[in-house]
């Protein structure tokens, strides 16, 4: 097993390199750069020479391979560079914005797992019963609604019509209870819900399917024949055996959650990585673009790795392939 883990980890490194190379090339293919706006500002005299100075300072006049090697060398020392647009070290910016996105993604994942998996298990335990059919229909409906439309409706109903929950940012500014746990939770609920509701539907369908295929097995019948209560049967025997594909899917979805959070963060003005990366690309802020690209890629790769590890733990054939 450890040999498999080590092999997979080693396999991640070339993938990461190729991703950075592709990202680097595409970044430089974008027309314009971060400083060209200076040329259009009439108040700046000598715009052309200022542009040239800034470009030289930031190494934009070097050849692409040279810039790439410089960046990799710097990153190996832990220095991610200075953002052109915010004029702060990139690591500082990321330290400010990344925890928010992680908070949102984590909350959404917790909701998905806590709500989706038991729902699927209960649906499967009473297959084609009233509960199953009604919630299945509801689940397919939820699955079809994109997350951002949920966000709009949730914001409309809970923030505007009922005025129960806030709709902007992470904390309420300027009041004495700003930053409290309750305050943060109230700001977190709507974005996390809109991120997680479509996924809950998907996970409950998946769990239902897996649980159904496990429930017809003989050992479940034996457990029932022995006299175990239905609950114990469900959660001790059935769930343990059907959970592996679900957690695998979960690993694959971690990367998707980061991307999906971009839209939700935009709607709720949640200060997270999504806004940071979008603004970075639009402003051609090269160090920031590369840093956010790295973080997204690492998140996706780690998620895939976790998923593959679970698959390997479940299916020994994969370990030795």
């Amino acid at each position: 097993m450890t040999a498999y883990i080590v092999r997979r980890l080693l396999g991640l490194i070339p993938t990461l390199f190729i991703i950075t190379i592709i990202g680097f090339i595409m970044m430089h293919l974008m027309p314009g750069n971060a400083f060209q706006a200076l040329l259009f500002n009439p108040k700046i005299k000598n715009g052309a020479s200022l542009l040239k100075n800034l470009q030289d300072q930031n190494g934009l006049n070097l050849s692409w391979p040279q810039q790439y090697v410089n960046w990799i060398g710097q990153m190996a020392h832990g220095n991610l560079g200075n953002s052109f647009e915010y004029n702060q070290p990139v690591s500082q910016l990321i330290g400010e914005y990344l925890p928010n996105t992680l908070e949102l993604a984590l909350a959404a994942e917790i909701i998905i797992l806590i709500a989706g998996i038991p729902l699927g298990v209960f649906q499967a335990s009473k297959v084609n019963g009233k509960f199953d059919i009604s919630t299945s229909f509801f689940a397919i409906f939820l699955f079809s609604v994109p997350g951002f439309i949920f966000a709009l409706f949730l914001m409309f109903i809970f923030s505007f019509m009922l005025n129960w929950l806030p709709s902007i940012g992470t904390v309420t500014p300027g009041v004495s209870w700003s930053g409290d746990l309750g305050d943060r939770l109230s700001h977190l609920i709507l974005p996390a819900l809109s991120l997680s509701l479509p996924a809950i539907a998907g996970y409950s369908r998946l769990t239902r399917g897996n649980t159904l295929s496990v429930i017809v097995q003989d050992y479940v019948r034996t457990a029932r024949a022995k006299g175990l209560r239905q609950n114990k049967v469900l959660f001790r025997h059935v769930l343990r055996n059907s959970i592996i594909p679900i957690v695998t899917q979960f690993g694959f979805d971690i990367g998707g959650l980061f991307s999906g959070a971009v839209l939700i963060e935009e709607i709720f003005t949640w200060p997270g990585m999504g806004e940071l990366s979008v603004n970075a690309v639009l402003n051609r802020d090269y160090p920031l673009i590369l840093a956010t690209l790295m973080i997204f890629a690492v998140a996706v790769l780690i998620g895939n790795l976790i998923a593959d590890l679970f698959l390997a733990a479940a299916d020994p054939r994969i370990r030795y392939s």
Binding site: I19, M30, I149, F156, I267, A297
Partner: protein, 302 residues
């Protein structure tokens, strides 16, 4: 003797030959029996009809600015009101549907085409070629999606909807490729393929004549789910501002226009219809996809 033989001839009433029904027709019949799928198909048909024949339903033009009448609430002349530049909302909704549906369908077909070609070659050839191609697909799949789209849009000019289709299709083909490669790997081991190869059929004949038609049912289902996904993706991109420019009517664009605080709060008649259309389209396509999958699955027990 001859006459006796004649009269002794057994007269068999010629039986009417029942024409065997093809797999396709059988599948269609199964589909028709699935009520949810039928409802989905009907809704989709209505949506397509209403958007294609939009001039029948509204006499305004989606680009006819009328600044005397901006931000009007619903009224008998403007059923859904007007927006900031005086465009009639209902008109923009209907004409925008054309753009959205076109982008979704064409992008889905393009993704399927690219992905299937790539996955078929990879799955059929196998060996180190397969490993290499799948490595590349892995890298592309691991590429974070939003920065990729933004960068592609910055490099190209997506005011043209065909460029947007190309961009969206380019980001989504790895998923289809991986899926189709799995399908082709499976198909390669089927008896009829092995048999055909044994008698010396060329690879191209194997792929086009034997394997592709058998993967068609899976393809159809994948296309339908892709369409649903692309409608949502397109609307989401327009919401951030990375889709078509806002002056082109589209559902996502309508949502983007009215997603600021003021419009969300006070003008629900402006953004709820586009949101509802998006949801209805995705729902109906999903139901159809479910129905198609159940209908064409050879192991369904209907």
């Amino acid at each position: 003797m001859a006459t006796a033989a004649e009269s002794n001839r057994v007269h068999v009433k010629s039986q009417k030959m029942i024409k065997p029904q093809s797999q396709f027709v059988l599948g269609l019949r199964r589909f028709a029996r699935n009520r949810l799928a039928l409802v989905g198909a009907i809704i989709l048909f209505i949506i397509v009809f209403v958007t294609v024949f939009a001039p029948l339903f509204t006499h305004y033009s989606p680009n006819a600015a009328n600044i005397m009448d901006t931000d009007a609430p619903p009224s008998p002349q403007h059923i859904f009101g007007t927006d900031d530049s005086g465009y009639d909302n209902l008109t923009r909704l209907l004409y925008g549907g054309r753009v959205d549906l076109t982008i979704a369908f064409v992008a889905a077909f393009m993704t399927m085409f690219l992905g299937t070609t790539y996955g078929a070659i990879s799955g059929y050839v196998g060996g180190w070629v397969d490993s290499l191609m799948m490595r590349f697909v892995d890298v592309m799949l691991n590429f974070p999606f939003i920065p990729f789209i933004i960068t592609l849009e910055a490099i190209t000019n997506t005011a043209n909807e065909w460029v947007l289709i190309a961009v969206v299709g380019f980001t989504a083909w790895p998923g289809a490729a991986r899926f189709m490669r799995g399908v082709f790997l499976q198909l390669r081991e089927q008896d009829y393929v092995i048999g055909a190869r044994t008698i010396g059929a060329r690879s191209s004949r194997l792929i086009f004549r034997h394997m592709l038609p058998n993967s068609l049912s899976v393809l159809v289902v994948l296309v339908s789910f892709s369409v649903a996904g692309f409608v949502g993706l397109n609307a989401g991109l327009s919401l951030i501002g990375l889709g078509l420019p806002i002056n082109v009517a589209s559902w996502g664009g309508l949502l983007a226009e009215h997603s600021n605080y003021l419009a969300l709060r006070t003008e629900p008649y402006a953004w709820i219809p586009p949101a509802a259309m998006i949801v209805l389209t995705i729902l109906s396509v999903n139901f159809m996809g479910d129905g198609l999958r159940d209908a064409f699955d050879p192991q369904a027990r209907v």
